[in-house]
């Protein structure tokens, strides 16, 4: 923030009290799971056939293009089909359907590792083979980030969780401090960073205290950031902690950023030899009867989870995969929780009074990417290509803040998306 810019963030009412202090619901025995055979936009190749028996931890698929990522079965049972289904990012993809035999037979796919004594290469190979991926939402294979760590100043373990309503990371951290510590120390070792920190919002007093206890005597600092959105976005977080901006990747600013739940997953893999089979997922919002945090197996359909939380409270709801800012509404609840899912937000679908833009400029002041959404929207309306080129629309990460702050309740973010799509066609 300087004299010439707005704050580039905004404090939102997170409604985290709905779920933050309640018991976590364990739903770890679904009848059937569907494992999406995608990672990001890349397809994964199934390693099992229909009719095969699998155990908890059996490697069932892998991504093998320029990146490598194994997927593991979260249940024991029989593969009954490979079928097309819509994913949480609203794309059709092949899913492995596995019938749960409810025996829970485990076959650990890899041995635990002593991260303190393992060599850097051994540890890096372990992260790759354990199928670690960014659990904050991107799902990016983790080992790639650490492939060539040079001149890293700061490793940031991101526990900010700035999406409103979501408390899954918070709960996960509160309950798995030992795993978080192991994962963080291992990432620190992998990153060869001069410093490392776990970063959370300053209002999470209880968590901060526990983190400080946990990391006492290690090199890991606990650093807090203001309770604003999008403090958890890499660029904003790096800027808040270091004052540096970067062009493409955080490593340009000397940082590596990893989600806290990824660190916990790595801790689980290293200490217990377990791959990612479960997720902490927040189910919240005024559209669901009993908001709660649930622990579910990867591949559990959203419908089952909502049912377990008391069902919908209205006949017309918005079901959002993720938090309400960046998560998209999905008009059916048959999609499944993927490894990178962390929430289901359900709202009653209520009409919004939209008025004309009054050019208040709040969107330009809050945009974390420094864009001018109001200018982008008006240029898009008249398809002013020259102006759209100047306005750097592809720096938009669709965080949704421009729509959030808009007092006229215009879908500003959607206008920027339209501009992006239009300019993609023009080129």
């Amino acid at each position: 923030m300087s004299l010439f810019t707005g704050p580039m963030n905004e404090h939102l009412d997170g409604h985290k009290e709905l779920t933050a202090h309640d018991e976590v619901l364990h739903l770890e025995n679904p009848e059937t799971v569907w494992i999406p055979l995608v990672n990001g936009a890349a397809p994964c190749t199934p390693l099992v056939n229909v009719g095969d028996e699998v155990k908890v931890g059996t490697k069932i698929a892998e991504r093998n293009d320029h990146f490598y990522l194994p997927l593991f079965s979260p249940v024991s049972g029989v593969v009954t089909a490979i079928e097309k289904k819509m994913t949480a990012s609203m794309k059709m993809a092949d899913h492995l359907r596995i019938q749960n035999d409810r025996k829970g037979t485990i076959s650990k796919p890899f041995a635990p590792i002593d991260y303190e004594n393992a060599s850097w290469e051994e540890l890096h190979e372990f992260v790759k083979n354990a199928g670690m991926l960014g659990l904050g939402g991107a799902g990016f294979p983790t080992y790639v980030k650490y492939a060539n760590p040079e001149n890293v100043d700061l490793l940031i373990i991101n526990g900010v969780e700035c999406e409103p309503y979501l408390t899954a990371d918070y709960k996960n951290m509160m309950e798995n401090l030992k795993l978080l510590k192991a994962g963080t120390l291992a990432f620190h070792k992998l990153s060869k960073a001069k410093k490392a920190c776990v970063s959370v919002k300053e209002d999470k007093k209880d968590l901060i205290e526990k983190l400080k206890e946990t990391f006492a005597g290690t090199e890991i600092e606990v650093r807090t950031v203001k309770d604003v959105y999008p403090a958890g976005w890499e660029r904003t977080l790096v800027y808040m902690l270091t004052g540096k901006r970067y062009d493409k990747l955080p490593i340009e600013a000397g940082c590596i950023v990893n989600n806290a739940s990824t660190a916990i997953a790595l801790g689980d893999a290293m200490l217990n030899g377990m791959p990612i089979t479960k997720k902490y997922v927040t189910v919240s919002g005024d559209g669901v009867a009993k908001p709660a945090n649930v622990v579910v197996l990867v591949g559990t359909p959203a419908h089952d989870i909502i049912e377990a939380c008391g069902g919908y409270t209205s006949d017309d709801c918005l079901l959002i995969a993720g938090g309400p800012m960046m998560g998209s509404t999905i008009p059916n609840d048959q999609f499944v929780i993927g490894p990178a899912s962390n929430g289901l937000t359900v709202f009653k679908n209520e009409p919004v009074k939209v008025v004309k833009c009054l050019r208040c400029g709040k969107c330009t002041e809050s945009c974390p990417s420094g864009l001018e959404p109001v200018r982008i929207n008006s240029a898009e309306k008249v398809k002013d290509i020259e102006t759209l080129k100047k306005l750097d629309i592809n720096s938009c990460i669709e965080c949704g803040l421009c729509s959030y702050v808009c007092p006229s309740k215009i879908d500003v973010t959607e206008g920027v998306r339209r501009a992006k799509r239009y300019m993609a066609l023009v080129k």
Partner: protein, 509 residues
């Protein structure tokens, strides 16, 4: 059971355009209430009531115009009016008018402001000009003649300073400030100007409230008011009037009101913060230049209208990415604001009149002996035989030796409130003008005219009270005419009325 689709995000700030306009309306109402109380207490119930009626007239005119428009364009009238916020325009327009505007002038200006200032551009959010400023420009240029002249005749601080060409000397400033009861009273707003622009403290409170509610940015008002202050304070320091000159510029006229309620109109101003800073600095410099050099007493209105025209260009200037283009943005802001400031300073240093050169202020030009000060400009002559009932002269014979009689005459003045003054029809006590007039009883002509008490507005009325002007009466009888003094017509008339009263008394009428 239905699951609907809406594009993300599906989470909205509690702030809405309605809530912004509600806060704005609350602030404007507070300013209105202050105006009603002030005019009611200081100028009588009738004037206080007039403020209310003017406000009602303008709001009704605005809402009716919108209702007709939405009916004619086949839109939902209720929704249209509720999302067009015409009342805000109407209230601002009334508050930037003076209390003596005519009802029909205000009503027609409101209609034009709403219709041609806003609706024809596509309605709320689409207009180029600030509709209230647009309406006020119409009101000032087209309906000035319909103003009620008998209601209020005190000069506003900007008019007084304009009368002395905004001279930046300490004595002229001190005199003007003193005539409005000092800076303390100017802060509290106990003087007349445009209806809503007097109480500085209230306006600053409104500003703080609106910024605290995040209804407006702090940058625009602070840069606008700050630039006016800095620019005029520098000139004040350079010319000897000191920082008080800057303070006077901020407190007098519409700078605070414009800074809080008009510069911050989001629709007609740039959308980025650097753009808004450039806009605010540009408007501030123009305001001061207009005050110094134009025919208008105040420059707020036209500076805002001019900057409105530049808004699209300013927006274009700052198109880009605020992070990646930060260097470019900083350069452009500095270049444009500094060049505006330089222009303002140059005009202040070399274009602003000083006492020594060409001041027309009688108060500041005491060396009128022998007609050395050729500053008084005479205009249309006034006949001594006219009916001067309005001036309500009272005559008292002081001495009469058979050939010459000396009369002490008082007349209603046009200056400030004075508890010892003569009651006028509005129930208000004006300060008086008083003169001692000697008349040759044989020829029934004036042999000496001495103004003993000057009760009009200093800096304006005193143009007509120079010794040169008083000399004009010598040798005049009831059938003669006396030249009035340009720029001080009311005082001229008062002086002539007193002469006529004395002559009539001498003639036994």
């Amino acid at each position: 059971m239905k699951l609907s689709f809406k594009p993300s995000p599906n989470y909205r700030s509690p702030q809405s355009t309605d809530s912004i306009m509600r806060d704005l309306t609350i602030c404007l109402c507070a300013v209105t209430v202050f105006a009603v109380v002030y005019y009611g207490l200081a100028w009588g119930m009738e004037t206080g009531l007039r403020v209310v009626l003017l406000m009602v007239t303008s709001i009704v005119a605005a809402l009716c115009t919108e209702a007709v428009w939405f009916m004619a364009t086949k839109q939902n009238v209720k929704e249209g009016i509720l999302s067009s916020y015409g009342w805000v325009t109407a209230i601002i327009l009334t508050l930037i008018s003076s209390v003596n505007v005519s009802y029909y002038g205000l009503a027609i200006s409101t209609i034009i402001a709403i219709l041609f200032g806003k609706l024809v551009f596509g309605g709320f959010g689409q207009n180029i000009f600030n509709p209230a400023a647009f309406g006020e420009a119409i009101l000032m240029s087209s309906f000035a003649a319909s103003n009620r002249t008998d209601l209020m005749t005190t000069a506003t601080p900007t008019m007084v300073m304009k009368g002395s060409n905004w001279i930046a000397t300490s004595e002229s400033l001190a005199k003007t400030v003193e005539s409005f009861g000092g800076f303390g009273k100017m802060l509290l707003g106990g003087y007349t100007s445009t209806i809503g622009s007097t109480c500085a403290i209230l306006l600053v409170l409104c500003l703080i409230f609106l910024i605290w509610q995040k209804d407006i940015d702090w940058q625009m008002p602070v840069f606008y008011i700050g630039t006016v202050f800095v620019l005029t304070a520098i000139i004040g320091l350079a010319k000897g009037a000191g920082l008080g000159y800057g303070l006077f510029h901020v407190l007098a006229g519409g700078v605070l009101f414009g800074g809080v309620f008009m510069c911050t109109d989001p629709v007609t101003t740039p959308v980025t913060i650097p753009g808004r800073i450039v806009y605010a600095v540009g408007a501030a410099v123009l305001t001061v230049i207009f005050r110094w050099r134009s025919n208008f007493a105040d420059g707020v209105l036209y500076s805002i209208l001019l900057m409105n025209m530049l808004t699209p260009a300013i927006d274009k200037l700052f198109d880009g990415n605020q992070i990646k283009d930060a260097g470019k943005i900083r350069t452009r802001v500095l270049a444009s604001t500094l060049s505006c400031l330089c222009i303002g300073l140059l005009i202040g240093m070399f274009g602003l009149k000083t006492t020594a050169e060409e001041s027309t202020s009688g108060a500041a030009a005491p060396s009128a002996e022998g007609g050395a000060a050729a500053a008084t400009n005479f205009g249309a002559p006034i006949s001594l035989g006219n009916d001067f009932k309005e001036n309500r002269c009272e005559v008292e014979e002081i001495s009469n030796d058979g050939t010459q009689a000396v009369y002490h005459v008082t007349a209603r003045g046009f200056g400030l409130i004075d508890p010892d003054g003569i009651a006028s029809s509005s129930g208000h006590e004006y300060k008086r003008n008083e003169a001692e007039i000697t008349i040759d009883l044989a020829s029934k002509t004036i042999t000496n005219y001495t103004l003993t008490v000057f009760g009009d507005t200093e800096g304006i009325g005193d143009l007509a009270t120079t010794e040169e002007a008083q000399q004009l009466f010598v040798g005049k009888g009831l059938s003669d005419e006396v030249d009035s003094v340009t720029g001080a017509t009311y005082t001229s008339e008062s002086l002539v009325a007193m002469a006529a009263a004395a002559l009539n008394a001498a003639s036994g009428n």
